[in-house]
């Protein structure tokens, strides 16, 4: 049995990272040149890691499925990035950022990792500014901040509604420089389909060239996964169309443990679903909740009149509106964390107070803010978001409230990693959204960008050296060895099997069905009976997929349907693991809401006695059920309490 050792350094919380850095082993510059590292993914985590490792002198190969590294989905992050700079002089500190992140994650993250994240957050801002990231500034020329959900200080740095884009372009610039200098080699339009282990250590990958269909073998001394989150298991999500779990899942099948798979973030402010043809959901930044007020009609008759278009939202008088977040959570109001805001929207809509053509939407209203701050100020803050909304919905948020509804956005679960960000396979690392480590059961806004860049720029470059220092005598691996051949043949067989399935339905057909099962039974609210039903439905879907999918085209050519089929096959297996994880966790925490575990006023009820652990799953073969391992969470700096935003 594999054991879980998080390798948390000894000593006081605030000194652990410094102590680690002082004690970890180093690799001298001459030896770095002899060591190869593969990085999979070029989002904030992957690009920042590849650039930083290349700069250190390692020989880096970086892979992405997109045509260029700059398109990774970090680009779409809107709102901002947190750091404990305390520029606002409102009492912020590394400890407070740590505390808010642990509490926001509903006490299901590791203290030591989260503290380190808060600690390095300030360096990220310094570096990004030096790269030329145009963060918002005051007239005096210094940086400005805004507040975000789950925090009572203003610690979020932003670049209008395009913070992710600007940060990614900064990292892409750094990566491009390393490519130009020959330290990093870029492999674009590649899907990474398997991991190669030699003597139990990660030594390479099998990739498919998406243009030619060629199966490639790449060897290295260590492999870093930065392939992002798996929200597309729900079919409809705010993820990019190509976002997938496949590299991480192939690692899971090779023995890397997958932790807390059921922890999914349903973001409260997205444009509602409007038709069966829909391919994706669009997020409206959480920053809008700084100025927008969320409400639904307080009276059912107004709901009816709105639906029949007899009245407009503005016709409903103030006293007939239910600003339900302000009502239920007076201390945080519209700025409660995402999981709380999402559930509250669902509660109102389920109770019949939802608006819009489907009744599955709530208002996000800017009328007060426009009156208070003026049209121009609101435009400067949210202009591009309003424009984006109008383009999709054909209504102007300046004139009528936005309609929003929760949608799948981020996945807190992912590959289990220790303090060094190493998975349970030696030499295999997971960084950014594809690991499970820092956000517990719910991620706070503006923390994903922070984590991706912290891992890539400031954590992995230290921790990977500690491993590679023992590899300096290991010669470059020969990718024609039997381990690579077996893995490559396995991938080819799998692709051939998919191509030869003479079914009738498109890949999307199965993906949509999986998404519906997951949303219905493993979405915003979960219960024992529904999860049991989901297990049955997923098993049935898997069988139908293996018999009934139709993939046109050929193996050795550009074939987007084949790409999708590989991804969906993995999503089906992942879906099952998510359901199993949700079943075993008989408590509510963060984004995981078990209906059986709630307080009398409908709030999530944690069970710290039984569930203060990380649930890490070990693969045990295609026909066996995965095995759960527990990493008990120790809270020494923080006292666990029922999360309250009232």
């Amino acid at each position: 049995m594999t054991s879980l050792n998080a390798k948390i350094p000894d000593g006081p919380l605030a000194e652990k990272w410094t102590a680690y850095k002082s004690g970890c082993k180093l690799v001298n510059p001459n030896n770095k040149r002899k060591l190869d590292i593969i990085v999979v993914g070029t989002g904030l985590a992957g690009a920042s890691a590849a650039a930083s490792l290349g700069q250190l002198g390692y020989n880096v190969k970086v892979f992405c499925y997109q045509d260029t590294p700059r398109r990774a989905h970090s680009i779409a992050a809107q709102g901002g990035i947190n750091a404990a700079k305390n520029y606002a002089n409102d009492g912020d500190s590394a400890y407070r950022l740590f505390y808010d992140t642990i509490k926001g994650g509903d006490y299901r993250a590791r203290e030591a990792n989260v503290y380190r994240l808060a600690e390095v957050s300030n360096q990220i801002i310094d570096l990004c500014v030096a790269q030329g990231v145009p963060f918002a500034r005051e007239y005096g020329g210094l940086l400005t901040n805004r507040s975000f959900g789950g925090a009572q200080v203003s610690r979020t740095f932003y670049a209008r509604g395009q913070t992710g884009q600007q940060l990614l372009l900064g990292a892409y610039g750094a990566l491009s420089r390393q490519i130009a200098e020959g330290n990093v080699t870029l492999y674009n339009r590649r899907d990474v389909l398997d991991m190669v282990l030699v003597d139990g250590k990660a030594r390479g990958i099998i990739a498919r060239n998406l243009v030619t269909g060629e199966i490639e073998r790449h060897a290295a001394h260590a492999v870093v996964l930065a392939n992002g989150g798996y929200g597309n298991v729900f079919f409809l999500s705010t993820n990019a169309m190509g976002s997938n779990v496949t590299p991480a899942w192939s690692a899971y099948r090779k023995g890397a443990m997958f932790a807390n798979p059921s922890f999914t973030q349903i973001h409260p402010t997205c444009i509602p679903v409007h038709g069966d043809f829909q391919s994706k959901l669009t997020l409206m930044s959480e920053s809008l909740r700084n100025d927008g007020r969320i409400w639904v009609p307080a009276k059912k008759k107004d709901v009816e009149r709105l639906r029949h278009k007899d009245i407009k939202p503005a016709d409903i008088p103030e006293e007939d509106r239910d600003y339900y977040l302000e009502r239920r959570y007076p201390a945080f109001g519209n700025l409660v964390p995402r999981d709380v805001a999402s559930r509250a929207a669902k509660e109102r809509c389920d109770a019949g107070f939802g608006v819009g053509s489907t009744g599955m939407a709530v208002y996000l209203d800017f009328a007060d803010a426009i009156k208070r701050k003026g049209h121009d100020t609101i435009d400067a803050l949210y202009g591009n978001l309003f424009q984006m909304y109008e383009q999709i919905v054909a209504e102007s948020p300046y004139e009528t409230p936005m309609m929003i509804y929760p949608a799948v956005h981020y996945t807190m679960g992912g590959l289990w990693v220790d303090y060094e960000l190493m998975t349970s396979i030696p030499g295999l690392y997971a960084i950014g959204e594809c690991n499970f480590s820092d956000h517990g059961a719910n991620r706070l806004g503006a923390s994903a960008l922070m984590q991706g860049l912290a891992d890539g720029y400031f954590v992995l470059p230290y921790t990977i050296g500690n491993y590679l220092s023992a590899e300096i005598h290991t010669p470059r691996f020969d990718p024609s060895s039997s381990e690579f051949t077996i893995a490559a043949d396995g991938v080819t067989d799998r692709l051939k099997r998919l191509m030869n399935t003479e079914g009738k339905e498109s890949v999307d057909h199965f993906h949509r069905r999986l998404g519906k099962i997951m949303w219905e039974y493993c979405g915003m609210a979960r219960n024992e009976h529904g999860l049991g039903e989901a297990l049955y439905l997923i098993t049935e879907l898997r069988q139908e997929f293996s018999r009934g999918v139709r993939i046109p085209g050929g193996l050795n050519e550009y074939n987007p349907e084949l790409e999708k089929a590989c991804r969906v096959a993995d999503f089906i297996d992942l879906g099952e693991l998510m359901v199993r994880d949700a079943l075993q966790r008989k408590e509510s925490c963060g984004g995981h809401f078990r209906e059986e575990s709630q307080t009398s006023d409908g709030e999530a009820l944690r069970n710290d006695d039984k569930f203060a652990f990380v649930g890490a799953w070990e693969y045990r073969g295609r026909d066996a059920t995965a095995q759960l391992h527990r990493e008990e969470l120790q809270f020494n700096a923080i006292k666990l309490s029922q999360r309250s935003y009232k």
């Binding site: 398109r71 989905h73 570096l127 600007q166 892409y172 984006m388 383009q391 999307d508």
Partner: protein, 257 residues
């Protein structure tokens, strides 16, 4: 809504392509352009055909993956949006829509509507960054940046690298793309130090990769989904000229020594 689509089909870079006609029916006016193409592809797959290949990813107008020449315009008829943000309500019921890939020497076709834009990566690799390392960076507030400058840098930095400017230009020039990056970094004190080196390297790389000269028609600005201004090209030209003059002057001084 119903449409007739005339789409460029090309099996691979090596083979010849041509326009093929398809009909699609019962399309919701709320569906996006790609959701309309998804519907077409589903029909093609269900009937045993080969779906149309097109580049797309975020479908929210920010990643820059999508392309398409639609009715003779990059990203279609609506100003300021990418193809993925284009909705079918922007077209007339029954309309015939022509869909082609980007056309530029530097962007060879891979399949159907997909082109290879890695030339844009090459230009950035030539110098589209600030040459600093991870680590050892002073506090972010050490250098104040006037808000107006920072805002102007941001405006240039919003380029999504889709290549519409190249596709729109009669000379297939990449001046707006490069001008945007040169301006973004030159406007900030952080990027100023190597501004003249940067502009020279990027322009040299652009010439090498087969991008044309500026056509001075401003079609790039008109078709840019992010509204990047041609002012950035002027700024690049000024920077380039200044850098050239300076380097010649320096050379003359060196030679005279």
């Amino acid at each position: 809504m119903n449409f007739t689509l005339k789409i460029w089909r090309q099996k691979s870079a090596a083979e010849k392509g041509g326009m093929v006609s398809y009909d699609v029916s019962e399309i919701s006016s709320d569906s996006s352009f790609f959701e309309m193409l998804d519907t077409l592809n589903k029909t093609l797959i269900d009937s045993g055909g080969d779906p149309v290949a097109f580049d797309h990813d975020c479908r929210e107008g920010i990643c820059g993956t999508c392309s398409l020449y639609i009715n003779g315009r990059p990203h279609g008829p609506v100003k300021g949006v990418t193809t993925c943000q284009l909705h079918m309500r922007s077209f007339k019921d029954g309309e015939t829509i022509h869909i082609e890939p980007w056309r530029a020497k530097a962007f060879p076709v891979i399949k159907d509507l997909i082109v290879d834009r890695s030339a844009l990566d090459r230009v950035i690799q030539a110098g589209g960054y600030v040459s600093i390392n991870t680590g050892g960076i002073p506090d972010a507030n050490t250098i104040p940046v006037p808000k107006e400058r920072s805002d102007a840098a941001f405006d240039a930095a919003t380029c999504i690298g889709c290549g519409a400017c190249v596709a729109a230009c009669s000379n297939a020039a990449a001046m707006l793309f490069i001008g945007a990056k040169v301006s973004h970094l030159a406007l900030l004190p952080q990027g100023e130090a190597e501004a003249s080196r940067r502009v020279q390297k990027m322009v040299a790389c652009m010439d090498e990769l087969g991008f044309g000269n500026c056509s001075n028609t401003y079609a790039c600005e008109a078709e840019c989904p992010k509204g990047i201004s041609v002012v950035n090209i002027a700024r690049m030209n000024r920077g380039f000229l200044g850098a050239k003059l300076l380097s010649e002057k320096e050379k003359a001084i060196r030679d005279s020594l």
